[in-house]
């Protein structure tokens, strides 16, 4: 702990001396502050939850103090994981001024979750704003918003979709009957249906890349032929903030692959977290708030 505080101090100094611009300095100072609270929370909470539950987090490499925003968010992620699950609340912040519409997030999400055709968790919509010559394209990446009042959850006839204590809206693939009521009820189109197709349909062979297990929910399910009970075929599917990654101390795929650094992820209950800072700015907007869904994805416009 003393070591960490030392690092923090050093960091501060470094930030002050080398900070060529204000933004750089601010980021470094913030990441240092993040680390400080990380250090102070650690011993207190480690006693609260059994060590074996957080062991995998404690074993993870420490975030680099100078690693920039991604490392800061990773540090905050580690800090959150050391708290009991019901004290975390995962939120995403997307800076639309920084989004360049490259769709790297869409692609990395498909790759990470091994998604079949027709299943997309994070599309990026495009809209033309303004009138020529004052015109621009507006991009809007759309993950699942993991609403606090999710319209998709109460409509499920079999309790297959539910809100986890950490705020993530999850689907139990063994429970889902595939009625698609949740897909219908989502005002954001955040759910899609696994119709059971392969990219290689119509070719002589389904190639091994399509039969790789999907790591979703840490369950490593393989999409086998037919309606195998273990296969996610015939189910509603959705973004789960890369739950399998975050429980292992890694940021969601869309966050780490965002070229413009437009996607932020963290714990809303951590007052020192980057996402909380960003949500405190005056650029924040949520989509279709009038429906009372209380989405946990904030846009900076």
């Amino acid at each position: 702990m003393t070591k960490q505080i030392e690092t923090k101090e050093k960091d501060k100094e470094k930030g002050m001396s080398t900070g060529s611009n204000r933004r750089d300095f601010l980021l470094k100072a913030l990441s240092a502050a993040g680390l400080a609270s990380f250090a102070s929370i650690l011993p207190a909470n480690a006693t609260e939850i059994p060590r074996e539950e957080v062991a995998h987090v404690l074993d993870m490499p420490e975030p680099f103090p100078n690693g920039g925003i991604l490392e800061r968010m990773r540090g905050e992620l580690h800090r959150a994981l050391k708290k009991p699950i019901e004290q975390r609340k995962w939120v995403m912040v997307i800076d639309l001024q920084k989004c360049i519409g490259c769709k790297a997030c869409t692609v990395s999400c498909i790759s990470e979750n091994n998604l079949p055709p027709g299943v997309v968790y994070r599309p990026v919509t495009e809209e033309e704003v303004g009138v020529f010559p004052h015109v621009r394209r507006q991009f809007l990446p759309r993950p699942c918003f993991h609403c606090d009042n999710p319209p998709c959850v109460p409509v499920c006839p079999v309790k297959a979709t539910y809100k986890r204590p950490d705020g993530i809206v999850a689907i139990d693939y063994d429970q889902c009957i595939g009625c698609r009521y949740c897909i219908t009820a989502c005002p954001y189109g955040a759910r899609t249906f696994d119709y059971g197709e392969y990219y290689e349909n119509g070719t002589p062979e389904i190639l091994p890349y399509e039969l790789r297990p999907s790591p979703e929910y840490g369950e490593n399910r393989v999409r086998t032929e037919g309606e195998d009970n273990k296969s996610p075929k015939g189910n509603a599917r959705k973004c789960q903030f890369c739950l399998h990654k975050i429980t292992n101390g890694m940021l969601p795929a869309c966050v780490t692959t965002c070229l413009g650094g437009a996607t932020f992820f963290g714990d809303y209950n951590d007052s020192e977290s980057l996402v909380r800072e960003l949500i405190g700015t005056d650029r924040v907007k949520r989509i279709k708030e009038e429906l009372g869904t209380e989405p946990n994805c904030y846009y900076l416009v």
Partner: protein, 420 residues
């Protein structure tokens, strides 16, 4: 003629079984469903549930409201309510992504889901229809059992649940009285249940705040009224074809026709109210859908199917003095209504999905047809639907010939017992 009809139905049923087999072996990828997640099968599901609820409510006219002039169609209405319910449940069952997990509706019942409530309603409703039919036919079934031999005897023994006609006259009279008492009780319970069954099916859609086209308190009522329209149409059609051509025949059809006209009138009224209010507010997701229904690619479903076939044509037939009292024309009015309401059901379900939830979402995922917002059913969906209908018509005809649904003797019995 009769034989050819049955062969055609059987052929359609067989093709239907084949396509349903395809659906079960390959999953829902055999359909054309895409970002329109509820398609033809769901439309036919609500159509059949509507037919069922409509027929059942027609039977309550007799057994609950005491309109005994309709007595002769009572059993027919209940039988068609049962077969239509079976068809509807088949449609929604094959539409599930995991049909074999349907039992979870009961083992993991979620009280906040309208769909879960509906599954309970369907079970309860099936029980009421069957119990009511049994009570109405118990005496006849027992008679048939005694008068037949061999396999038929055991069939009737099964259907009569082993019940035997009491030996004494008083016992018989008492049994008939009990039957009719039970029919009345079941009908009284069945009335709110049938309203729940179809109003609830409407509520399934109406509670979805994400779809302004559905999100209206009027929606479940429109479901219910159009169910009554289709129920009257079905009764008009069935009774004109199957009913005994006796002195009650034409007055009976006229009576049903009166209800048909009444319900079509209410249906049009509710529809116009919903449409005008909905399109007056300039909410894009709402007005765009109305615009697409009327002037989109499938405009004919609305103008020809819904407006002309389901409403105007039956109304016209039922009001032209030269033809309105002819049985064949009334049958035709019933037929047009029954087919026309299919279009109403399609337009209730599918257009709601055609508008992207967020601007640009329809073109955000470039390319894959499964993410398209334009839907038209493919051959698997069409032929499985035709197959289910053909098979269910055969089931209906089999039950019609096997069971004392239209036995003249039974009618004599009911009349005497209801006359008290």
């Amino acid at each position: 003629m009769k034989k050819t009809g049955i062969i055609i139905l059987a052929v359609f049923a067989l093709i239907g079984f084949y396509t349903i087999g395809l659906r079960f072996s390959e999953g829902l990828q055999t359909t054309h469903l895409n970002a329109v997640f509820w398609g033809e099968w769901v439309a036919f599901y609500i159509y059949c549930i509507g037919l069922s609820a409509g027929s059942f409510l027609m039977s309550t006219l007799i057994y609950v409201f005491g309109m005994h002039q309709f007595e002769k169609m009572g059993r027919l209405a209940l039988l068609s309510a049962f077969v239509a319910l079976l068809s509807g449940l088949t449609f929604v069952w094959i539409d599930l992504g995991h049909p074999w997990r349907f039992y979870k509706m009961f083992t993991h019942w979620n009280h906040t889901s309208v769909l879960a409530w509906e599954s309970m309603f369907y079970i309860f409703y099936t029980f009421i229809i069957l119990a009511e039919l049994y009570m109405l036919m118990r005496h006849d079934l027992a008679t048939l059992r005694e008068n037949s031999i061999g396999r038929k005897k055991s069939i009737y023994k099964f259907f009569s649940l082993g019940w035997r006609i009491p030996s004494t006259e008083e016992g018989q009279a008492q049994a008939k009285k009990d039957s009719m008492k039970w029919v009345k009780i079941l009908g009284v319970i069945g009335l709110p249940v049938a309203i729940g069954v179809h109003g609830g099916t409407g509520a399934l859609f109406a509670v979805v705040a994400a779809k302004p086209y559905w999100f209206s308190g009027l929606f479940p009522i429109i479901f219910l009224v159009s169910a009554l329209v289709s129920g009257c149409g079905l009764m008009l059609l069935l009774y004109s074809m199957l009913g005994d051509k006796d002195e009650d025949y034409i007055p009976m059809l006229k009576g049903i026709r009166g209800f048909l006209v009444l319900f079509i009138g209410i249906d049009i009224l509710l529809f116009i109210s919903d449409m005008l209010v909905g399109s007056y507010g300039a909410i894009p997701e709402h007005t765009a859908i109305w615009h697409r229904i009327m002037f989109g690619n499938y405009w004919y479903v609305f103008w020809i199917g819904q407006i002309f076939m389901a409403w105007l044509l039956p109304m016209l037939i039922c009001s032209l003095r030269s033809i309105k009292d002819k049985a064949n024309w009334m049958a035709l009015a019933g037929l047009f209504t029954v087919i026309g309401i299919v279009n109403v059901r399609f337009n209730l379900v599918i257009p709601a999905y055609t508008e992207p939830q967020l601007p640009g979402l329809d073109i955000a995922f470039s390319g894959h047809p499964r993410l398209s917002y334009d839907y038209f059913p493919n051959f698997v969906e069409w032929f499985s639907s035709f197959g289910i209908f053909a098979f269910m018509i055969l089931v209906f005809l089999a039950l019609w010939t096997l069971l004392p649904v239209n036995e003249s003797i039974s009618r004599g019995m009911e009349k005497s017992s209801l006359a008290h």
